[in-house]
């Protein structure tokens, strides 16, 4: 049975995340899947996107031919700037991050623990080139950390774990996980499932998740 369940698409996941971002928020989107969130902010809701390489007010992707090598996001992709944007240097940009001025950051993950520990920068493979970027600054500095990730690895292993085995990005930093199968809050009482993808019932979710889940009692 489990092979038939595809869960939400990346775009559907991005829409779920976007719906949970209040109007007026300052938001940083991690590299990769989280970047999709920007396209799904509900009509009439204004959200300001920050990119740590020095821009507040990231706009939509430029049309082909209008790209500017010197107007990029943290993933080094060309972006645009909204009216009302501002540019600043890296120390000022990370003052926004580290000073607690960004409301929400959406990040990818290798592993998230039931206590909200995040591992998303290194798989600890011997000989691999370590690279951290701004991930550790974001998880310590931003008020609320959302994780957006597939529920399992390509090999079918749970990314939600009792304890991270990969090197940590931060400890007890994640508030909520958006996977292709469920939306899960990380609470003092553990992992609380808020919503499940079509077909992903309790039994199925428990079968693909390595940490205990609590479901709403209704």
């Amino acid at each position: 049975m489990s092979r038939d369940i595809k869960g939400w698409s990346r775009e559907e996941m991005a829409r779920k995340v976007a719906e949970d971002i209040p109007g007026g928020s300052y938001v940083n989107l991690g590299i990769g899947m989280p970047e999709l969130v920007a396209n799904h902010i509900p009509e009439g809701r204004e959200v300001i996107f920050h990119t740590e390489n020095g821009l507040l007010g990231v706009g939509p992707s430029p049309v082909t031919g209008a790209e500017d090598d010197e107007l990029i996001n943290a993933g080094k992709k060309p972006v645009t700037a909204i009216k009302g944007a501002s540019y600043f240097h890296h120390a000022d940009s990370f003052a926004m991050v580290r000073g607690g001025h960004i409301d929400i950051c959406v990040l990818g993950a290798f592993q998230v623990s039931e206590k909200g520990d995040l591992a998303n920068w290194s798989t600890g493979t011997p000989g691999a080139i370590p690279a951290v970027g701004g991930a550790m600054d974001l998880v310590e500095g931003v008020k609320t950390i959302f994780v957006m990730t597939n529920h399992t690895t390509r090999g079918g292993e749970s990314k939600i774990v009792p304890e991270c085995t990969y090197p940590l990005t931060g400890k007890g930093v994640v508030s909520r996980i958006y996977t292709n199968m469920a939306v899960i809050d990380i609470t003092e009482n553990g992992l609380m499932v808020r919503e499940t993808a079509p077909g992903a019932d309790r039994e199925y979710l428990e079968s693909i998740t390595d940490a205990p889940l609590t479901f709403p009692s209704k």
């Binding site: 300052y26 507040l56 009216k83 009302g84 501002s86 540019y87 003052a95 607690g100 310590e140 500095g141």
Partner: protein, 236 residues
């Protein structure tokens, strides 16, 4: 739509509570948000800790706030200037507290508060009375003391122009402490001489990005503290 513009100075400062820490921009009179301070006098919040480079002049602005007995403690670098009469009197009577901080350390502590840095080392004031009781430590054979980041519940700041996002431009040396105070305050309240449309401020020239600002009020023709002083004015 994001719109941080408040209708009036009194509305803008209405959330200030008794016991709050309030940073107030300005170096002497340049950059002092006189209208916001006067609104705070009308509002009446008491037991404030005020962080500002000076203690105000004559009987208007910050000096009037102190005279109205709303300030419990001043954190500043230069509490007496040629025209300051209110603070010195209260201080000599032991009726107001003072934490004296070197000006650069004050600016850096405010920036640190806004940048998420709880503490840093500096050589400023080593071997002086202002280093007494502070942690001393050597790096590379030189002595430094530990200073702590400063945060505030509110900042009252004057600027030249703002848009609805709270992006700010300042005027000349009236910029002084405004940008770092906006960073360090939970709620930065700004009076702007001009409100401009979003996109009117060159994104390369924005001094304070809107993320650091909570409320903006339009004060088209702000009082000159110098002129109020010359006219012998008092507030209220």
């Amino acid at each position: 739509m994001i719109d941080k513009i408040a209708n009036s100075a009194s509305e803008a400062i209405s959330a200030v509570f008794d016991g709050a820490t309030v940073m107030i921009s300005g170096f002497g009179e340049a950059g002092s948000p006189v209208e916001l301070i006067h609104a705070l006098i009308d509002h009446g919040a008491r037991d404030l800790t005020v962080v500002s480079n000076n203690t105000g002049n004559g009987h208007v602005g910050l000096a009037a706030l102190i005279e109205n007995r709303q300030v419990k403690k001043m954190i500043c670098s230069f509490p007496r200037t040629a025209d300051s009469v209110v603070f010195p009197e209260l201080y000599c009577r032991g009726e107001i507290e003072l934490e004296l901080v070197p000006q650069g350390t004050l600016a850096e502590r405010i920036r640190a508060g806004g940048a998420g840095i709880p503490a840093f080392y500096t050589p400023t004031s080593v071997n002086t009375p202002l280093a007494e009781g502070k942690e001393l430590r050597e790096f590379g054979g030189r002595s430094y003391i530990l200073e702590y980041g400063l945060k505030a519940d509110f900042a009252l700041v004057k600027c030249r122009a703002a848009d609805r996002y709270g992006n700010l431009l300042y005027n000349k040396t009236a910029r002084n402490f405004g940008p770092v105070m906006c960073m360090a305050a939970e709620c930065a309240i700004v009076q702007a001489e001009e409100i401009v449309g979003a996109g009117s401020i060159d994104p390369e020239a924005v001094v304070t990005p809107g993320i650091f600002v909570s409320r903006v009020v339009h004060i088209a023709d702000p009082a000159s503290e110098n002129r109020l002083l010359k006219e012998g004015r008092r507030y209220p």
